[in-house]
Amino acid sequence: MNILVLLKMVPDVVEELKIGDDFKSLDRDWLRFILSESDEHALEQAIILKEKYGGTVTAVAPDAPELDDALYSALAKGADRAFKIIGEWDIYRSPGLAKVFSRFIEINNIMGEQTLILSGSQAIDDLEGEIVYYLAEFLGLPGCCVVTSVQYNPDSNCITLLKEFSGGLRGEFELSLPAVIGIQAAENPPRYIPIAKIRNIMKTQKIEEIEIPVEGIPNGLTIEKLFEPEVTDRAEILEGTPEEVARKLVEIFSDKGII
């Protein structure tokens, strides 16, 4: 199987997010970038599939701060090649990035009968929806998101998927390759790679840089403004020593008849 994993960096929301002076974008001086969480899972699922069924894993991402670390980490985990699409990509969202990825696929002549394209199901900044479905439309391939398991049957060249619905229900689906799949969670949690191994990879393997023509690639929707949620009935914050707040909580629980 020939697996392509599409990756994207996003702001780490554990850090404080500050709105920029234009009130339309985040202040980039404050941002720390990490690989989108579901992309991390897509990468893991790709490596798992390679280990089970053989083949190659190629990781691709548009340039962003901290991207090199993420790509070296992908190589250390078992990706065969890692591509950085150079350029300025912050004004593009899913429709534009999917166009960029589809051009990457075209230029590198990647599509084949056994090609499986994986990406994260949805990122925290996907204001215009999932990249996976845009790409599936652009390439004329079947697509499916919110997937938590992928099994491959080499004889029929089909994959079996589990897709999450709601209320704990899941649906089983089958489709033949080539296809584009949005991973929500890999079969196993993303593996941990020691820094030493990543440092070693930095010496022996290279991130390949590639340029993609941007003509005709749509910018994102215009955001009128960004703002922080205004809350009318925010939680009453209990303060004091651990013993004091614990006692207050116990009082609340007994007032409400919980204990």
Partner: protein, 323 residues
């Protein structure tokens, strides 16, 4: 303004999803404010049983076909595209659910109109439709404006009340002929959650752990608390994805919808996909070390603290109280 709004009525196993009523209510208001016609599209193998209660729409357009038992997003997008073209409408509202995921994107490619995802509010204002979106796990909101009534809005579940969308009257209906194309994506079966050890949706007390719990070992802090408080341990998605707790403990969009008497959230940030599953709990208490965590916008009481500092003390305190 355009000719109308088309909304998609999502259903699973013969039941109309709550999100469809949320959207019916919200779209009804926009249609009234903008003086537009509200169409609701119902597609399925059999649709009759789904129609009562959809009376808030001016007209329900029905499509029946055997191939629509578990339709692919592409099949539904094809239908919405055809209905929109027939009626001259390019304004749509769809549920931002796992089941409906993909419909909006595919429709946006077909119609060459923008998709506005993650909407928690949508209103009509002086000729424009304005949406508010939940970005970055609910920490930041954005506002997007559509002035030509061409766009697809995907609504996050739980954004609106469903009651205003419910109606006792049978809607006016119109059948729509549509032959869907053969799909490469084949539905095989539905898999039920394994509830043999616990059904968290039936528990009155949930101590729910998020990524902030830090490690699998620390889950015992929650288990010790449950041992004195009663109830069960539940979790947010990352805890399940790490394999620290089984799938049947997940609360949220993909997990279970819970409404316990007490929901105690330990180290959960309060992302929209999590809140969707627990926002109707009677009493929500959150312990989180980040004062800006969105969970404090939903909780009744909050403690801005480290889990490790509070939970063992709380467990002791309850144990003493109960004697």
């Amino acid at each position: 303004m355009g000719n109308g709004i088309i909304i998609y009525i999502e259903h699973l196993r013969g039941i109309v999803s709550d999100i469809s009523f949320e959207i019916l209510g919200a779209a009804r208001k926009i249609a009234d404010d903008a003086k537009m016609t509200l169409y609701a599209v119902v597609a399925g193998k059999k649709v009759d049983a789904l129609l009562p209660g959809l009376g808030k729409a001016d007209k329900v357009i029905t499509i029946e076909d055997d191939s629509l038992e578990m339709p692919t997003p592409r099949a539904i997008a094809d239908i919405l595209n055809a209905v929109g073209s027939a009626k001259g409408i390019s304004l749509y509202m769809i549920g931002g659910t796992n089941i409906s995921s993909g419909i909006g994107v595919i429709l946006s490619v077909k119609q060459k109109i923008p998709l506005i995802n993650l909407c928690k509010n949508i209103r009509y204002d002086d000729g424009a439709i304005i949406a508010t979106n939940q970005l970055f796990g609910g920490k930041i909101l954005s506002e997007v404006k559509i002035e030509d009534s061409k766009g697809i809005f995907c609504i996050n579940p739980g954004s609106f009340k469903s009651e205003p969308g419910k109606s006792g009257t049978f809607p006016q209906t119109e059948t729509f002929e549509f032959k869907s194309k053969e799909s490469k994506l084949k539905f095989i079966k539905i898999i039920e959650p394994d509830l043999s050890d616990v059904d968290i949706s039936k528990e009155e007390i949930l101590v729910s752990v998020g990524r902030g719990i830090g490690s699998q070992d620390n889950i015992s802090l929650a288990e010790d608390l449950v041992a004195v408080l009663g109830g069960a341990v539940s979790a947010s998605r990352p805890v399940i994805d790490q394999g620290w707790l089984p799938l049947n403990r997940q609360v949220g969009k993909s997990g279970m919808i819970v409404k316990p008497k007490l929901y105690l959230a330990l180290g959960i940030s309060g992302a929209p996909e999590h809140v969707e599953g627990m926002k109707d709990s009677s009493l929500i208490v959150a312990i989180n070390k980040d004062p800006a965590a969105p969970i404090f916008n939903f909780a009744h009481y909050g403690l801005c603290a480290e889990i490790e500092d509070i939970v063992p003390v709380l467990t002791d305190c309850i144990r003493n109280k109960k004697g």
